[in-house]
Symmetry: C4
């Protein structure tokens, strides 16, 4: 199986996950400003999750671009990543309905931490096939950005029980940090 | 990343947005003509939004066709467009449930204005890469159609508080204006 | 725009329409055989619509295969077909909930008749571009199968107010008639 | 029609089936641990079905890879497989809502058995075209793994009325058995 098929299936799942989230954005009965304002927390949650999924889609494609041949391990590491990403809409809906409540905010953080770990494992699976001196290994280096993100998600999960505002601020911060596409791989590929 | 991947992902999102709108088209309990007639406002809203999304898909493809190389800015300008388009089903459902109510009609207009602005920014991002004498820049010229649409959407949003009928008429008018695919780019490409 | 893009977007819409129908197949609360049996009408409706959509996907692809160059008319004729197909899930859900009630059965028949007309118009749009002596024109001939289907759908719609059983039987009959892929085009292409 | 189109359409349906299942994973109102814990049975059901669909996607692609030319029979055998797979989300939701109840557990097992049979028929349809000495025929041999799975599903369905725990354990066991991609075909292709 070539990487094109893997990318196409992943694209499909990404496109669906990012779009079905909007199904949760239901305006309740009524047509007043108050009713509309009531959807604001769901809207904020949706925006944050949309940005996260767009970041993952973006970086996922740079990552898959470095793959030469897909093996069984890469395939399952990729499905593992898609599994955790598929939970983001449910976590988003729960946080949107219970905005700034401790447990939903912590669960949302977990729904961000798990794909981060899965993404790390997918990188490992790809590098295992390429060797430690591969383009990807060089490009990632110590993978500082990946590691700091996971630490920040974990901090956000813990802080949700102290101040949910702070947790959400951390989630926004990590998203902002990743909004720039992964220049490391891009640069390495260009130099090659 | 080539433009094919960008087009494929966008295609997926377009296909899903256009299709999940139909999930809102639920006939309530009962099997009489009255029950069916009650869905009419939702149906009208659905038709209008379907036409808008088909127009965007159509023009989006002519636009992407002019792109030679995708950079980070184009990528995010595209995700930004998809974000606003993804809100159309929610706005459609709200307008369908509260047909000709002022606020939902204005919100629906906003859900049309925002993608128009995002589309304009995407054009700018593509032209920035191509230079001001590019095919696209020449094809668009002053982009009269794009500008007049945004003005009409804004007028529709304002008029919703005077006469929602008039707003909907304006939205229909703009759709009719765009039903013809963007001949400007098509023509320029042919002449080239 | 090449036919590949048209086919890819249509594939996406087909895949989503065929799959979201299953969202209507919700087993109500309870875990007894009675509860399960209550879903039977929805299941039967789902099977019928699944078969119809699979037939359309199948024949749509044979049809698109004959297209050399996509123009604006073909594009809109295709979107028009997808629009009517996208209403099948809603009509299926309504018929499933009100099995053998006259109006839902007639509406379901209409949801089958409209795509049949749209498909006919799409064929016309393609032939207009190819000329009357094209492969497609020869393959279709008088398009007996297409015409008889539309007549049968119309008969089914009318008979729904006499005997809904008879209508459903007619819809099943037309599906059976089309289950065989369109050999006419296949044969013409082979001979060429 | 080439196998690429068949694979692309199947990919789309797989991606949607695997993703819409998550729509059933709705956390009910409230933001406590108890509320979250109440979703546990739905989550377990979701994980199991996700793994099953990922296995099918994976093996489906190895299978389609051996196809040289798609005929009408292969096309319908494939649609038949997709039909049964499309019922897994509904069966998953019902089992998730009524965890360890006999009938939903048996119905879930049936929703696993039917695609297994459909997959077997798809293999037959492909081999019929390739001849009995084809790569696929050799690779599958007696298709021990396929046969034992069907027997285990049937056992799980029957045992659901004795001990639903045991049924679920069997479903997990079969999934574990298939988690390894189909090496048989992979090996044959390599040797070729």
């Amino acid at each position: 199986m070539g990487k094109d098929r893997l990318a196409a299936f992943s694209d499909g799942v990404f496109a669906i996950i990012i779009t079905i989230m909007v199904l949760e954005l239901k305006v309740p009965h009524g047509s007043s400003w108050e009713v509309l304002a009531g959807v604001a927390p769901n809207f904020v949650s949706y925006v944050l999750s949309f940005v996260y999924l767009a970041i993952y889609w973006n970086n996922h494609h740079h990552l898959v671009h470095t793959v030469a041949r897909v093996d069984g391990l890469i395939l399952w590491a990729n499905s593992h990543l898609l599994f955790w990403l598929s939970l983001i809409p449910a976590a988003t809906a729960w946080m949107g309905e219970n905005f700034l409540a401790s447990i939903p905010t912590a669960v949302y953080g977990t729904s961000l931490l798990m794909p981060a770990i899965a993404y790390y494992l997918l990188q490992k699976a790809i590098m295992r096939r390429q060797g430690t001196h591969s383009v990807l290994a060089n490009a990632l280096g110590g993978d500082f950005k990946g590691k700091i993100s996971s630490i920040l998600y974990a901090a956000g999960i813990g802080l949700a029980f102290v101040s949910a505002w702070l947790s959400v601020a951390i989630y926004v911060l990590v998203a902002a940090m990743w909004l720039i596409p992964d220049r490391r791989i891009e640069n390495m590929l260009r130099e090659k």
